[in-house]
Symmetry: C2
Subunit: 479 residues, 2 copies
């Protein structure tokens, strides 16, 4: 449901200007940078973009919009990939001016931050205290905490640290009726009623606007051991993951899958990059261990860092069993950066070539090999010349599938997309792993989400946002 | 709000009997074991206790009760401490017959279990696969998974593994209208709408009945290092915790505080127990490290297990700095059991003596020392002869405060309770850490919970349970 705009719009803009000041209400050309999504695939025309500076200003704007029944679309870094900030004729509420890191309590290992803090800025602030905020992904230079929380962002370190919701202890939220809800605790145990924090995280702005948060920080790993490894199959890759976890007591920070097709596309797009191995292999994995304990970090008499020696020993064992085809262990920070650069170039490769079918999907790790085989089979049945590729956060079962059909045909693209989703569901997986629903995945929500869960989501949405002003039309499909 | 019973009760019992069979509807004396809470402090008279065997039977009973507006109080192990299962004139729905461990997938490290599985039974089943379900507490021999989830139980291992909600990947829930909601995924990433799993966990049965769950399992630590340590202050204890975490890379499994007063009461009640030290100390801590990596477990040439040597080295360093008054490291499994037995006797000590003021509270770890000092001060101001004691999960900031006032005076008890709660709130803490709200903590919810959060909880309750049949009167205070 998109609310109809009424003749009262100019009046509400005057009132909003009175709240935030004229410099912070953008319309027309001034609003251009908020009027399309990050990949540039979708454009829209917001009524205006309002940029409050405080939680009080956010609440005042929301109260006004709620009274006037004007829809609000919250936005922070605008790096969403599922059309979560499409805002035709709606008021966009940008959190970018609320960018204060209010406090870092190193002893308690928490950061208290506002919604407009850029993820990379938080990384830098934590590093000054020799701590990390472990969530990271390609868009870290522009994604902001508010959007990260509202979409429950994932990334490459989830297997060790969890998704965004696992890293959040407290929240401040402006409700759809313009009240400020203070859940800003820094507690590890707090059983005092429904967990509204987890309800708000991942709600994509449909239940309120996150304005601030208390986030967990962690000790910085004192050394990393990073390698590219080629193995005979995805199944063997998972055996390697489990072996590494067992041998190190759970020190695996990242375990990223790159198929031969991905590396070929990478080298075609960036000819200056070096291939990881002389010979191309089907199944390539980026492995990274992180060591925190001094005894895993302190070099031995020969100058070897124990965590690196450990990784090499596990790889040597697999090699002796004939389970490794090739491996390169980073010997310097520059080599580590080169290994990561291949993985992080994915956004510039996978979205460029058209036509394209993309899907962000998840299964339990022990079903990933079967999923990849089934995708190959069902997509080729629809288009024998389709090229399949992608990358995967293999350690947590999250595949970013990309298919390049052999012809421009929207019906074919849709058919491939839906066939892939059916296989995911058949394997007990999710049709949306970490990118969320927005507008893009509403059809999948309607088809695959448990009906009782959909009914409960609709009941909660109607109860919390009775006038339906918060990011209307997103996340929950119409009945 | 407690719903009034109507003349249709005998009729509904006939209908329920038709669903579950006559052997599984208990009334009168047969219902006695469900008619009081675990400490025996509160009694009630349920309309009947119904014991369905399947999710389908649960749904059929709930549909009937919803149609007839008969309140339902779900119950599993009935070890709740906050009057969460008081059920006067209500239908108690016991999950005890739904006790199947449906599946253990060792590779994916998940257990699929029904709500009536006893926690200790799950522990044993996981152990057969050399895995653990890490949640544990004194009542593990009778507490069941359904109640553990509904109350988001905590315990002694939260600092390493999180609370119950952190250990749950999927849920099956019968909603208040009798629909079955299937959220039984085993996924680590799943952003497909509101996180209804986290809404149900900790809702104390007021939003539906949890019938099954997918729970995380972990590799079994291959060796433990356990010690009792006496230190000069709670602040020093926290420095020791942080040092141990830094030195071991986060291997602390438990860090439990026992004050002198607790150990004195323990030895008075159980004279056959040995005191931990020759001399009594004010601040005593149970420390346990768990090692998973082979190199922390494999004995060296001299027969020493590295994780134990590690603990002894950290303790020796603190001793050299004058920060340890006394320490005993367990040299055998029997000595480890003796150390834990002191801690686990707490339930038999703290609740026995009357009059008693109890409070389950939490603050950030760096504020615990201040909290304990303030409690001493405000309680003594109300009753100069009150004796304060308790135990704490110090590693996660959770204090089980117990005060023994010098006279039987309900008004005094209430005044102490409220004074303690005010100090907790002033320090940014929670008036309910891990036991939940039930009926016992409704006054604290009304006084201290954020008003916007209370309003949202009421809106959600009304939307999800429109007839107010699910565990009415619990968790949310009347307006």
């Amino acid at each position: 449901m998109i609310l109809a705009m009424t003749g009262s719009n100019p009046a509400i803009l005057n009132e909003i200007t009175a709240i935030v000041g004229p410099a912070y209400v953008a319309t027309g050309a001034e609003a251009a940078r908020w009027s399309q999504d990050w990949p540039g695939l979708t454009q829209w025309s917001p009524l205006a973009v309002v940029r409050p500076a405080t939680t009080g200003e956010v609440a005042a704007v929301v109260r006004l919009a709620n009274a006037r029944r004007v829809p609000i679309v919250p936005v922070s870094g605008n790096t969403n990939l599922v059309k979560g900030t499409v805002a035709d004729s709606a008021l966009m509420l940008s959190l970018d001016r609320m960018s204060a890191i209010r406090e870092i309590r190193a002893e308690a290992r928490v950061a208290v931050v506002e919604a407009g803090v850029i993820l990379a800025t938080l990384h830098a602030a934590a590093a000054e205290q020799d701590l990390i905020f472990p969530l990271s992904f390609g868009a870290r230079g522009s994604a902001m905490v508010g959007g990260v929380l509202s979409t429950n962002a994932g990334g490459s370190n989830v297997l060790r640290y969890g998704t965004t919701r696992d890293l959040c202890l407290g929240l401040e939220v402006v409700t759809p009726t313009g009240d400020v809800m203070n859940l800003m605790s820094a507690l590890h145990k707090n059983n005092s009623g429904y967990d509204l924090r987890h309800l708000m995280i991942g709600a994509e702005g449909t239940l309120g606007i996150i304005t601030a948060a208390v986030l967990k920080l962690f000790p910085r790993p004192k050394a990393y051991a990073t390698a590219m490894v080629a193995v005979p199959s995805v199944g063997v890759a998972l055996r390697l993951l489990n072996r590494l976890q067992d041998e190190t007591g759970g020190a695996v920070e990242a375990f990223e899958y790159m198929p031969r097709s991905f590396l070929a596309a990478l080298l075609q797009r960036f000819p200056q990059m070096r291939p990881p191995f002389e010979k191309a292999h089907d199944v390539n994995v980026l492995v990274e261990l992180g060591a925190r304990a001094p005894r895993d970090v302190t070099p031995d008499a020969a100058g070897a860092v124990p965590i690196c020696a450990h990784l090499e020993a596990v790889l040597a064992g697999f090699y002796d069993e004939g389970l490794i085809l090739d491996a390169v262990v980073a010997q310097s920070e520059a080599q580590r950066a080169e290994i990561w650069a291949r993985r992080e170039a994915s956004a510039q490769i996978l979205r460029v070539r058209k036509p394209v079918v993309e899907n962000d999907i998840a299964v339990a790790t022990d079903r990933m090999e079967e999923l990849i085989a089934r995708i190959e089979s069902v997509s080729k049945a629809l288009d024998p010349n389709i090229e399949n590729t992608g990358v995967a956060h293999l350690g947590d079962g999250n595949l970013h599938y990309v298919g390049w059909p052999s012809r421009e045909d929207p019906a074919l693209c849709r058919a491939v997309q839906e066939a892939v989703e059916r296989e995911v569901i058949a394997l007990g997986g999710s049709f949306s792993a970490e990118h969320g629903i927005g507008l893009s995945k509403l059809p999948a929500m309607a088809e695959h989400k448990d009906p009782a869960a959909l009914a409960m989501m609709r009941a909660i949405k109607a109860a919390v946002d009775p006038n339906g002003i918060m990011n209307p039309g997103k996340l929950i499909p119409d009945q």
